[in-house]
C-alpha cells in the first residue's frame, strides 16, 4: 500500500503539450507511472510526443480513459481554472505543480471543490516509490520502503530522501505539499492517511518557518499517532525575518510560526527534531528501534 497514489492510479496531465508538461510526462512515464492521456484545449484528437491521446477537455479525457487523478502544468493565471475543470469532471486527486498562483484563486478553488483532494499548488508532487510518481520529483533518489514523508519544500525533500535512501530507509509515499500560504493538503491530512496505511511504519515531516501547520501536525501526532516513530525537521532557523506590514498576520498566528515554536511543539509530543537534514536517518533509526 501507499497513500494517494499507486501503480493502478490512472493519471492525466493538464498542459501535456507545454514544455514543462511534456518534459515531466516523459519522466513520469519513464518511472512507470500510469499516465493515460493529457489535456490541451484545441489539440484534442492529436497524440502527445509520448504517444498519449490528447483531449480538449478534462471531461472528455475522463470519459475516455477513466482517469481519476490529474497533474497540472499550466501557467499561474489558468491553474484555478484547471482545478475547477478537474473537479467538475469528477477527478478525485489533483496535483498542482504551478508556482505563483494568486492566493485568492487558491482560497476560492479550495473552498469550492469539496470531494477532490488538491495537492499543492507550488509543490513538487508526490511519489510512491517503485509504483508511480506524479509531478517533478527526481525519481532515482527514492526507494521503496515503509517511511512516509511529508514536506513543505521541494528541493529540501529530495535532499532528505536522498539521505534516507542512502541509509537504506525506503519510502512508502513522499508528498510535497507545497509552500504557499494556502495549500489543498496539509501535514495533518497526510498524517491521517499515513495512520491508515499498513505499509507506512514511520514518518518524516519536513517543515519550515511560517504558518502553524507544524504546530497543528504536532498536536495531531500527540493525539493520534502515539507509538508511531516520527522525526521532524524545521528549515529556516537562520532565515532573515520578513518585513511585515500591519499586524493582522501576527495576531492570527500569535506566537506560532517561528522555528522555536515549531521545534518545541514537536518535542512536546515526543517527536525528535533533526538539526540538519543529514541527521534524519539516524534519528529515525533510533525511533524505529525504540518503537514496540
Amino acid at each position: 500500500m501507499s497513500i494517494f497514489l499507486d501503480q493502478n492510479s490512472n493519471i492525466i496531465v493538464q498542459g501535456i503539450t507545454g514544455s514543462e508538461g511534456s518534459y515531466h510526462t516523459a519522466r513520469m512515464l519513464a518511472y512507470g507511472t500510469h499516465i493515460v492521456g493529457g489535456v490541451t484545449p484545441g489539440k484534442g484528437g492529436q497524440k502527445s510526443e509520448h504517444g498519449l491521446p490528447v483531449f480538449d477537455t478534462v471531461k472528455e479525457a475522463v470519459d475516455v480513459t477513466g482517469a481519476t487523478q490529474t497533474v497540472i502544468f499550466v501557467p499561474p493565471p489558468f491553474a484555478a481554472d484547471a482545478l475547477y475543470e478537474a473537479h467538475e469532471a469528477g477527478i478525485s486527486l489533483a496535483v498542482c505543480i504551478t508556482e505563483g498562483v494568486p492566493v485568492h484563486d487558491v482560497l476560492k478553488v479550495v473552498g469550492a471543490t469539496s470531494g477532490m483532494r488538491i495537492i499543492g499548488p507550488n509543490c513538487p508532487g508526490l511519489i510512491s516509490p517503485g509504483k508511480a510518481s506524479v509531478g517533478i520529483m527526481p525519481g532515482h533518489v527514492f526507494s521503496q520502503g515503509d517511511v512516509g514523508l511529508i514536506s513543505r519544500s521541494g528541493t529540501l525533500t529530495y535532499e532528505v530522501v536522498d539521505g534516507l535512501t542512502r541509509a537504506g530507509l525506503g519510502q512508502s509515499t513522499c508528498v510535497g505539499i507545497g509552500g504557499d500560504p494556502i495549500i489543498g493538503t496539509t501535514f495533518v491530512d497526510c498524517l491521517r492517511e499515513f495512520k491508515n496505511d499498513p505499509q507506512t511504519k514511520a514518518i518524516v515531516i519536513c517543515g519550515e518557518i511560517g504558518g502553524s501547520d507544524e504546530e497543528d501536525a504536532a498536536a495531531w501526532i500527540g493525539e493520534h499517532l502515539a507509538g508511531t516513530p516520527v522525526v521532524a525537521f524545521v528549515g529556516g532557523q537562520n532565515a532573515p525575518p520578513g518585513k511585515s506590514l500591519g499586524h493582522a498576520g501576527a495576531i492570527v498566528s500569535g506566537a506560532f510560526g517561528t522555528a522555536k515554536s515549531k521545534i518545541e511543539a514537536f518535542r512536546a509530543v515526543g517527536v525528535p527534531v533533526a538539526e540538519r537534514p543529514s541527521q534524519i536517518p539516524s534519528l529515525l533509526e533510533k525511533a524505529l528501534a525504540a518503537s514496540p
Binding site: 498562483v101 500591519g246 499586524h247
Partner: protein, 388 residues
Amino acid sequence: MNLMEYQGKELFRRCGIAVPRSQHCTGPDEAAAFVAANPGEWVVKAQVLMGGRGKAGKIKFASSAEQARSVTREIMATPMPPNRQNPDGEEIHSVLIEERLPIAHEAYCAITIDRTHKRPVMMVSGFGGMDIEEVSEHHPDSIAKHFIDTAAGYSPFIGRELAFASQLDVGYRKAFPALAGALYELFFRYGAKLVEINPLALTSDGRVIASDAKVELDDDALFRTPEFTEWQKALPLDEDETLAAQAGVGIRNFRRFGGTVGTMANGAGLAMATMDAVTNAGGRIANFLDVGGGANAERVRNCYELVVNHTSAKVFFINIFGGITRGDEVARGIVTALEETRARRVPLVIRLTGTNEEEGRAILAAAGMTPVETMDEGATRAVEIAKA
C-alpha cells in the same frame, strides 16, 4: 507588494470606504501650497511602509502653510529609525496632508488570510490606534474574529456579530457592517493578502472614517491589475530587493548578511537549509539566495554575478538538487558565467544532484570542476575555504 497609506486610501475610496480629505505631497513647498489653498487643521504624515510613525515623530500637526512647510521639512529630514520589523529603517520621500479628525473613539479592523482555516479572517477590536499586537497578547478576547466562507462571501451579519462581540462603541454600529463589506470587496477585488485599518475612527460628529490604511497586495495577482505596476514604481525597493530584481529573481529571493560564505540553492527550503548547514559548520553566511525552480543557464549566470559582485563572500557554495531545475542547465549556467563574467573570481563549491545530474556533472567535469557529494560536505568545505 505593500502599499503606502496614500495608495491604500485610494483603493479605500474606490470601494466606498470613508477616508479623511487629503493630499499627497512630495516636499515642503507642495505641502505649504496645499495648506495655503485649503486653510484648516491638518495632519502631516510621513509616507513609509514601516510602522511606528507616531513614536518616531513622523506625524505632526499643521494649521498654517508655514507650519505645513516646516513640519514636512522636519519629517522628511531624517529617515524612519530602524525597529524590530525593519532593521534598516526607511527613507521618507513624501507625506500625506490630511484633515484633522475630531476623534471620539478608535477601533481596529483587518482582513487577512488564515492558513489553518483556509479562509479570509476578519478581525475587529475596540482597542484601536495602539499597539494591536500587544492588545492581542494581553487581551486576546478583546479581538473578535470571523472566518469567512469564500463560497458565501461577506454578508452584513458578519460585521454585526464582530461589532457586538468586540463591543465596538455603539456609534460604529450603523456604519460598520457596510464598511466591513466594502473592505472585504477590496480584499477580493484587488487580490489583497492584508487590509488593515488602524485606527478606524469614530468622530465626535458620528462619522466612521478610516484614519490609516495598510494594504498588502498579492504579487502573484498583480498581472490582473496592470495599473498596479505603475504604483509599484512609486514604492521604494531596498538595495537587496533592487539587486534581486536586476538578477531576474523574486525580490524576496535574495538577502545579504555580511558573512563570508556566499550561498545559492534552488528552492527556498533548500536555500534555508543550506544557510543552516553553513552556520552549523561554523561559517558566517554572506547571503540568502533562492535561484528558483526551473532555473535556466542565464538566470544561474545572473545569480553568480549577484553573489560575487554584491556580497562579501570569499567562497561561493552552490547547492542544487534538481527536480524541475535540470542539472545540465545549471552546470551550463555556471560554466558560461565563469567564461563570460567580468566579475571577480571566488572559489566555488558545487553540489549538484537530482534531475539530469550526470549530464550536469559531465559539463562541470569538462570545465575542470568536481562537485561535492552532500550538502554537509559542501558546507564544511566552503567554511574551510572562507576561513583559510
